[in-house]
Amino acid sequence: MGILVVDAAGRVLFMNQHLELLTGARADRVVGLPCALVLRSRCCVQQCTGSRPAARGRGGCRQDDILARDRRRIPVRITTTPLLGSDGQRLGAMESIEDLRPVPGSGPASGGPYSFGDIIGQSPQMERLFAMLPVVAQSDASVLITGETGTGKDLLAEALHQASERAKGPFVKINCGALPATLLESELFGHQKGAFTGAVEDRPGRFRMAHRGTLYLTEIGDLPTPLQVKLLTFLDDKIVYPLGSAAGYPADVRVVAATHRNLEDMVRRGRFRQDLFYRLNVLRLEIPPLRSREGDIRLLLDHYLKRLSVRLGRTIEGFAGRCLKILLHYDYPGNVRELKNIVEYCANLCQERRVQPRHLPAYLTDPARPAATPRPSAAGSPPLLPARKDPASPPGERIAERWRDVEVRMIREALVQARGNRSRAAAMLGCSRSTLWRKIRQFGIEV
């Protein structure tokens, strides 16, 4: 993190080594110079010059860019903190400058794909989505994210928060489908001591916790009707009324909601309030399912394989031709989440340079084994279609094979092959003996 300290007139007093590296300026040569001439940030030049010093005096956080000495424009986040004397007089300001360029190696693997936060893709559908995101992030309006399960709605919500002006504020997530209505109301809006049996103390709700940040309501389609009214009231008034309290307090919260359900259909059926739908649907982001994202399957396969190989300390170079053919022709009803799990399975199992078909989960290579994730069914769409494009694959419902089940099966198979010898089984699995012991206990495997 680059640090710059300026006096009340905006002249540089101190610059740390990190900022020297970022800007290319030498601290000993720039002390005493106006910060606008040194930092060369857009905001400094446009708003913070000597004749307009007001912007410098205010604290706050802003997305900006600076022009370094090596002639590169660098996106940064600048947080300004006024430095005040004991009498309240402004002595200067401290600016922390955060480099927003992606960390080398943490980005997408190859092909120069577009990305936003942790979401990557180079299909035309994702390009269109990425083009919208910076604009949506900068707006303060409510956002509704829709898409099938596993498409990355949570990632997108968090990326939106990180790219917004509220990035320094909290990002609070709550699953509207995970709690009963009464508990959810208390979770969301908080309660006052004595509001109900067991309410022994005041409790701030998620709205309060998300003050000056973003509240992410996932599975908004599962929000009970009484709470839909209360949420609508908040969106209109921006005032939160805790349970049992007549006094409300204002909360500066941006609401991002997500669902895999078809909300329009739910509105038609009277299961979701139309007015709330319109209030949330100010900005709508639809994440396309993976099967319709042209070219992204290969990109994501390579990306996750590379990342997992590094994490697991393997030297897997890629997928063998036949293996890749199977993976590219699979339909991924569980979308990116399923693809990631498949790659994790392969990376754990593969001890060679290239992933072979035998390293794939059985349901991909053996059509007789129904083990794929059932296709997520948005309300109104036909449920549970066959997961493979291969016409030879049997139609009908498929049973989800969770990673936990896969791990249990792998451990059991390794133990059988090693005739109960845990050291050998651990070596076969590519993990330490203690990890194997921990997994055996965790999954309750009888040895």
């Binding site: 720039v30 606008a36 001439l37 060369r40 030049v45 000597g50 022009l67 002639r71 590169r72 424009r73």
Partner: protein, 115 residues
């Protein structure tokens, strides 16, 4: 031989950013480095592309600026314009140093009061 010089300005100093400068100083130096002519131009809006266009149409020989992006630097040097960048200081001081053939990239000169 006279030399035409352009300096993007932020108030009276060399603008810290070429792409954000809305005011430029165009001066003519004679063969001995004396300032023979100077004019201030206000750009309708800050734009690096418009500035490059102005530099070419005005047949400027040397540009003195603060920060400039690689793309614009390469374009100007490709068009045979000499660019002395990363200069901090007043436009007047930069011109004087250039007249004495002492101005180099990275120079920190006298700052004008108004900034």
């Amino acid at each position: 031989m006279p030399l035409k010089v352009l300096i993007p300005l932020l108030e009276n100093n060399v603008a810290p950013r070429f792409d954000l400068a809305a005011e430029v100083l165009i001066a003519v130096l004679d063969g001995r480095g004396t300032i023979r002519d100077r004019k201030l131009l206000i750009m309708p809006q800050a734009s690096a592309e418009k500035l490059c266009q102005l530099i070419l149409t005005e047949a400027v020989g040397t540009v003195i600026c603060g920060g400039i992006e690689e793309e614009h630097y390469d374009y100007l040097t490709w068009k045979q314009v000499k660019v002395i960048d990363d200069v901090i200081g007043s436009g007047q001081a930069a011109l004087q140093q250039l007249g004495r053939s002492r101005l180099q990239s990275g120079a920190v000169l006298q700052i004008a009061d108004r900034l």
